[in-house]
Symmetry: C2
Amino acid sequence: AGSLPLAGLAAGRAAAAAPPVSESAVSEEDPESPWKDLADLIDTGDSEGVAGFIDELDASDVARAIERLGREHREKVLAVLEPSAGAELLEQLVDAQGGELLEAAEPQVAAAVLQELDVADQADLIATLEPEDAKSILAEMPAEAAREAEFVGNYAPDTAGRMMDTEFLAFPQDSDAGRVVSDLRRRADEVEDDAVQYIYVVDREGRLTGVLRLRDLLLSPSWRVLETFMIRMPLALHVDQALDDILDVFDGHAFLAVPVVDGEGVLRGVVHRGDAQEALSERSEREHRRSQGLIHEELRSMRLLDRSRSRLAWLSVNILLNILAASIIASHQDTLSAVIALAVFLPIISDMSGCSGNQAVAVSMRELALGITKPTDILYVWRKEVVVGVLNGSVLGAIVAVVAWLWKGNPWLGLVVGAALALNTVIAVSVGGTVPLILKRFGRDPALASGPILTTVTDMCGFFLVLSMASTLMRHLA
Amino acid sequence: AGSLPLAGLAAGRAAAAAPPVSESAVSEEDPESPWKDLADLIDTGDSEGVAGFIDELDASDVARAIERLGREHREKVLAVLEPSAGAELLEQLVDAQGGELLEAAEPQVAAAVLQELDVADQADLIATLEPEDAKSILAEMPAEAAREAEFVGNYAPDTAGRMMDTEFLAFPQDSDAGRVVSDLRRRADEVEDDAVQYIYVVDREGRLTGVLRLRDLLLSPSWRVLETFMIRMPLALHVDQALDDILDVFDGHAFLAVPVVDGEGVLRGVVHRGDAQEALSERSEREHRRSQGLIHEELRSMRLLDRSRSRLAWLSVNILLNILAASIIASHQDTLSAVIALAVFLPIISDMSGCSGNQAVAVSMRELALGITKPTDILYVWRKEVVVGVLNGSVLGAIVAVVAWLWKGNPWLGLVVGAALALNTVIAVSVGGTVPLILKRFGRDPALASGPILTTVTDMCGFFLVLSMASTLMRHLA
């Protein structure tokens, strides 16, 4: 299947202006509610119709159509399609959405579709399922295939073992070029397009000993033994190596794919450059999501209770931290009732400090991701943040001070709220810049915890600064 | 250069446990302050020493060493290195950091290094420079090269024209397989490894008419004319096509690279799968950064005033919005001084509503990025958010209500703050879910503006709800 993938296929809105490019019928339309047509096709049980409908749409329109299907139709999507067409559909969707379709389908149907995917994709999709659903789907797969999927699923996320493609071309080192070419010719149709960038060479135990590039093979006489023109001791990844190592390899070299070996040096698979980039992009998406208080990936098509519970998990911790911070205000009620104007400025100081601190968090997260900052660089980061905090705190403090002074005609009120905001900005950027490093150093997830820690600390400090300074200067304020 | 990139190279910490893999001397160390050694090497002007030092480190350690160099050393890095080694260094760094090195160097040095990069990288780096710096560097490049870099730089960011590789292999359609193979053999050393996945076929005007896969070429007799076995009408991108279209193409097909044509159908370049993935990952990074209030990419090695100014640009808008929201409190001072306990709950309601709303913003941003949600789906998104808001608002409102009741022994206080938080949670998720869609619909950047709009609206509504409900129920509260 798919031996001539370039031929005559049209890609959505691709190249409308370019003469040599074929165009598809849907290229210019922006389908308004594609899920209605899709639901109709599902109702008629028209397998080819559904497959054709999905083929014609852009990947994002397919995702949108699936998202908007009602539960009764969503249950039937995979059942209506041929397993191979179902697999192609899942490849277009993000894992969370693909997992939803698998959960909605009958286990036999889900198992048949899964088997059409490569094992890395199987493992990723299975990881999104509820454990019971995963179990009943795996039970419907042939024992061997289920075992392999579970085996790959056991590699930690974002390791070479988890993201490798287990389809690759490998030949014994004592073969000759002619045998490789005739073997390639024989298997031309079954070999995936992206599996033949490099041809690997192994010894009798399956250990990786060399690599051939296709063009070197092209230029070698057929009697040459692979050993004599292969590139020896090729760079390889270990199955347990993590994403950052993998990205370093692709950053440092122009390779399209890197072989993956196990502890014995046996060739197990291949990581493609695109897979590593995709894993990186998913990791940053995950961090972003977590920094906004979404512990799990949420799509609005998911079950209401799951969506609510996942959001509440983070909110309920946050509200306790908020109540803790507000207890500072509660302990200064006398000051507050004497100078009620202060109550107007408390939320401003809380919010602005949070903003300044979040900017520092974002810079630290970015620098950690790039490796520019390490968890031990706390002092350096702190020094770099303090100077920005002093500058920005002065500007913001001055703005608030002037507003307070003009509003109440009392320069002392301006002094209190302005100085408190200026000082608290310095605290906020110090905390925001360093907390992600500290969390990372202790093996915690900085994306998830930095925000709540930051706002709790800056709220408490901010409230305390305003109210204690006000109580000291009370005779000028009241 | 680089015709045998796989041979004998070691990749940082790669594959420590795998026998067939070569190891480098630095593989196990975690260099504590590499920038000191680097600074020493720069001081001695030891070109090979600096290049070797950079080669030995992981890409992230190199980035860290460069970040921590003082200004006087940073100015000299590129001058000390051979231009080709300087270019390899820039390829390892993110554009913002590479741009810093170019700005710090003399224009002649920067120009010599830039010329070693491919034109897409040149355009990306030049885009990060101050206009005057870019001008003086371009002036030092040969007129032809400068024109090409400017030409590519003129394509909008994230279009096929901007990210395409302008090095590719193309042959006239009336050539035969033998000529292609002998030509490949002759040029084997100059052709980049990743340029030879597909060989393109063009007519006399340079228009793309077909594509050859290397393995089809391998299996064809030398007398066959390309036209007779090429894949006709290959899928192609137009130079102006945007990232989402490009990703759709790679999502829908297993291609490693897609050709790019201009309005006349002339082949202009090739977009690789990895480049598209990288552009996606940079776009989500940019959106994340903007959602946290960083308009420009900041690294802590940048100039203090630039860092401060960029952060203040967003903070100063925010403080005005904060003052606007706080004016609601100012207009209810009487209520507040009668029931000073309310002042304790105002920051809680403001912060918690902001959190709930930000979760909805994050889901919408994710669904917009995936194409699952379109800017016109406002009603659908709103319906899906309201139900979550009612559930979560009830839980959070109940928590706050109980706390308030227990604290002051007054159930009416609990009712006011609890009901206000519950209602405001519904408002917050409604605003948070829909505002990104509305901003996108009107061509604004949802990543930048959603947060400030959300918090301003939810603060105003939250403060108003608490204080107006309190003034209505004043006789039970005071």
